[in-house]
Symmetry: C2
Subunit: 545 residues, 2 copies
């Protein structure tokens, strides 16, 4: 870190170390710090400007072979300048340009440049909202940000928020690393409220799940959720001890929304079994694969009828509520008991930011923890009711972004995404070699390339020929996605839709969340796919089914 | 975000939005971005330079009253400049200056300035290491960083790391938000390995804990850990469904280390009960309250004898291994099955960064999850074996910091902390009004102010007078810590030590991790405490016990 000119190598010494813990006082050192920042902001620029997704110029194997050293050098090996240059020249070119308008495959996208500045503020302040003594104003600031998003979701009146926004005993929500942990938090609370303490025992959190189930005479716990749910629901059930098999996938209708008749029947059936307890029904506001929104009002009705916790996984769709035009798509979300939202998705925050919200400001009492040195009973420490302990003050990024963008600014992004996805769907329908598999309800759609000779005539559905066709088409699309990704000009993702009553279908998946992604760009992505198919895939196929 | 001069207010429009998603091309816009960054880096400077902890100039109540708005404005309310100025002028002055050398109360401290630059790079690249398609090189880079820390802990040979560092099927560790989630991850893996699938059932993750325990004929699961453990151990047990009551606190010896005889006896006793299964024994390398290190070698011997998972919570102490002088204090950590480390503690990373490591590169297979759209079986996606899904690429900060600091640079920080804590202990012992309660094994110590007339003579121990004395002294120290904190010149934390065989003791807690914290500063903190006691507390006390 310091160049010892007599020895010609870097050495660490305490005096130099103390210096790097100081803020720079001289103009000279300030200039150096600014220069580094410029290098970062603009040195990465070339990488971030190019229309490149994930190239295969260098194979992953070759790339991996460059990162095999497992020794920590004793002496400082690099200066900050070395590190920055190396990242710009050797790392960034092999990272994924998620900010390219041609990158429309995942829920990771471009972020407004000011997010970089806001996150830098958070880093420089380095507050830890786990407790007041390491965050102070940031704790009360965070409570306000949580109230704003809570209100967007649940729409209680002024009185409600005046009462709860800064009341230490109330918890409107909690920041966690991502949607997976938000879903885990919600189901954790629901589990503990399903098995509260009684005069006979101290509750599931204290005495464990086996004792809880035995005391209640329950042999099976169930979580009901659309078969298109995110895998974090299974994971959360595994973590919480109820097991993956507790998750009962409910079939979707032809619009990929939870089939409400199936849900009703399943609930009726489960109700007849006194040894089964339903922990939660989960509605999804924006499924990961298709962007579909479950019928939240109808699910809520059933949950209230059966007295079951209603969780909404709105990790993707939540911010659609900011759009006057499309908020109605999420009707019923205000009736949820808990809601998951990801800030790094449609709030366009940097990686990563998850949030969970609860209708009842006392719901998180079911997961309260205290310690001797912080989070003492009665304190306002935010760490009392939270899955996580130490964490970064990302509320400052979200709060500032809401101020800078306004709901109006976010609405423009949301509307652009949905409108562009719909235009893209039209274009796909127009092209004879493509089939739109799931139309965009929000800003996600899936489609596939189906050459005419491999299209299954309706009459053949279910036949051996049809199965062959389906296999071939699936393989075409796996290959197509890979070849396009490797070419590095653009990127769509692929998934395999597994829905009750439908054949397993490999699809290409487009997620439109970059305001720079235009219909023209999307057309060029289809053009490229047609070309890849004609040049690289068609010649390798058998002539006919 | 854009000022419409005819309307005199901010409006959001799509053209402006597209612009903020672009990287700046013109010199003019580059200058503006740099200017913002300068404002952030140096505008926060005054705040970060002052020796102020948590002042009470403004009460928390008054502060909270400023953050009660729960509406998201439709129109953009502020420009980036407004936001930055407001944070510098109105937020930062009421945040906590954790970077002050006078802030020695918590495990949150100053960070080297280059960490701000490194985190800015991570934000600008915005990679998501959950999957290769949104991180590519960062995934293989992260594997290398994990291998480096794994090697620091477990010290396997070159062959081992050559084999596993980039082998997709191997998982040496995992980044999570913090130590709480790292401990949770470790116990999650241990739980699943305790109840694996058999021919009769599919394992605890799949079939749930009740079924797992029943199949195994187990009625009680136990986790053994020192009574000084972090509260995240109880929380993890609660989350995982085994319950807080599964955590058996093992008494500590007079050095605040787990008493190995008590552990041995407890294990023997539990072994005699066929219906009890021990999920893990946890050793602590740096307890939160006292910085003590449990006898890791002896615990490891007992774990191997009993065939029990041995987890080490080294959230605090792990990086001490970088110091040639003090690494020996952690002897035995290399025999752990899993280890927790917090990057934002003694690796001096910005908030927040937790890590969990496993001796067995296949241990995390017990918690593998796949999905249709990512993390497909056989892929190199890091999200397959991880508690969390989307997350930020903090491995780039840690990896770069290791390059810039070298183990030698970190060793200087570690050594400074331990040496300074020892010097501080000497100073406390030298002053007649102070009592050193727990001597620093690492860089944490606890002490209290005990005025001579409230000291309990040994002869009186246990008497009613002694209890009165003890109460008064506890109250003195609660007040002392609060008054010092409110004065805002310096900050030590307080905790209540609850140890078997000792009276409940309120202590002041000092955590020395800032290289700018000198013995002189620590002396002035004691001086201030003496003055506060004489001026503010002594006059309010009764004359004698």
């Amino acid at each position: 870190m310091v160049i010892d000119k007599t020895k010609k190598h870097l050495v660490a010494n305490l005096e130099a170390l103390e210096r790097i813990f100081h803020r720079p006082d001289s103009d000279q050192s300030r200039m150096v710090l600014t220069k580094y920042m410029e290098q970062i902001l603009f040195g990465l620029h070339d990488f971030l400007r190019e229309n490149v997704g994930i190239t295969e110029e260098i194979s992953l194997k070759e790339l991996a072979s460059r990162f095999t050293s497992s020794e920590i050098a004793q002496r400082p090996a690099k200066t900050l300048t070395d590190v920055i240059s190396e990242i710009i020249e050797e790392i960034a070119p092999h990272a994924v340009n998620v900010s390219s308008p041609y990158f429309v495959g995942h829920m990771t996208s471009a972020i407004p440049f000011f997010m970089v500045h806001l996150n830098t503020i958070v880093t420089a302040l380095n507050q830890n909202p786990v407790k007041l003594e390491t965050s102070k104003v940031v704790s009360v600031y965070e409570r306000q940000v949580l109230a704003k998003v809570h209100r967007l979701l649940f729409r209680f009146n002024d009185d409600f928020y005046d009462t709860h926004v800064q009341k230490p005993e109330s918890t409107l929500g909690s920041f966690v690393e991502d949607g997976t942990l938000a879903n885990l938090s919600a189901l954790w609370v629901a589990r503990n409220r399903l098995f509260p303490s009684t005069s006979a025992y101290a509750g599931v959190e204290q005495d464990g799940l086996a004792a809880a189930m035995q005391t209640r005479g329950v042999r099976r716990v169930r979580v009901l959720v659309s078969e298109l749910c995110h895998y974090s629901i299974r994971k959360a059930s595994g973590v919480l001890g109820i097991g993956n098999s507790a998750v009962i996938p409910i079939a979707v209708d032809r619009n990929n929304r939870m089939d409400i008749h199936t849900l009703r029947n399943t609930l009726e059936e489960l109700r007849r079994d006194p040894e089964t307890a339903v922990l939660a029904v989960i509605g999804i506001a924006g499924t990961t694969e298709t962007g579909s929104v479950d019928p939240l009002c109808a699910i809520s009705d059933l949950c209230r009828e059966h007295g079951i916790h209603f969780h909404v996984d709105a990790a993707w769709g939540g911010p659609v509520l900011l759009s006057q035009q499309y908020a109605g798509l999420l009707d019923g979300i205000e009736r949820a008991d808990s809601v998951t939202i990801d800030g790094h998705k449609q709030f366009y925050l940097p990686m990563s930011n998850g949030m969970v919200f609860f209708r009842d400001p006392n719901a998180m009492d079911a997961v309260a923890y205290h310690a001797n040195y912080i989070n003492r009973p009665g304190s306002v420490d935010l760490g009392i009711r939270s899955l996580v302990g130490s964490r970064s003050a990302t509320s400052m990024v979200l709060g500032s972004a809401l101020d800078i963008m306004g709901s109006g600014g976010y609405a423009l992004l949301i509307d652009h995404g949905i409108d562009t996805a719909r235009a893209f769907a039209k274009e796909i329908r127009r092209r004879k070699d493509f089939e739109l598999v799931t139309a965009p309800e929000l800003n996600i759609l899936t489609y596939r390339l189906v050459p005419e000779q491999w299209r299954t005539p309706a009459a053949l559905t279910g036949s051996a020929d049809a199965v062959t066709c389906s296999d071939v088409v699936n393989r075409i699309n796996v290959r197509l996605q890979r070849l396009q990704r490797e070419a590095g000009n653009s990127f769509v993702s692929r998934t395999t839709l597994r829905r009750t009553g439908c054949p397993e279908t490999v699809v290409l998946r487009a997620v439109i969340m970059n305001p720079r992604t235009t219909p023209d760009i999307l057309r060029s992505i289809l053009d490229e796919q047609e070309a890849i198919f004609q040049e690289r895939i068609a010649p390798t196929l058998p002539r006919e089914p």
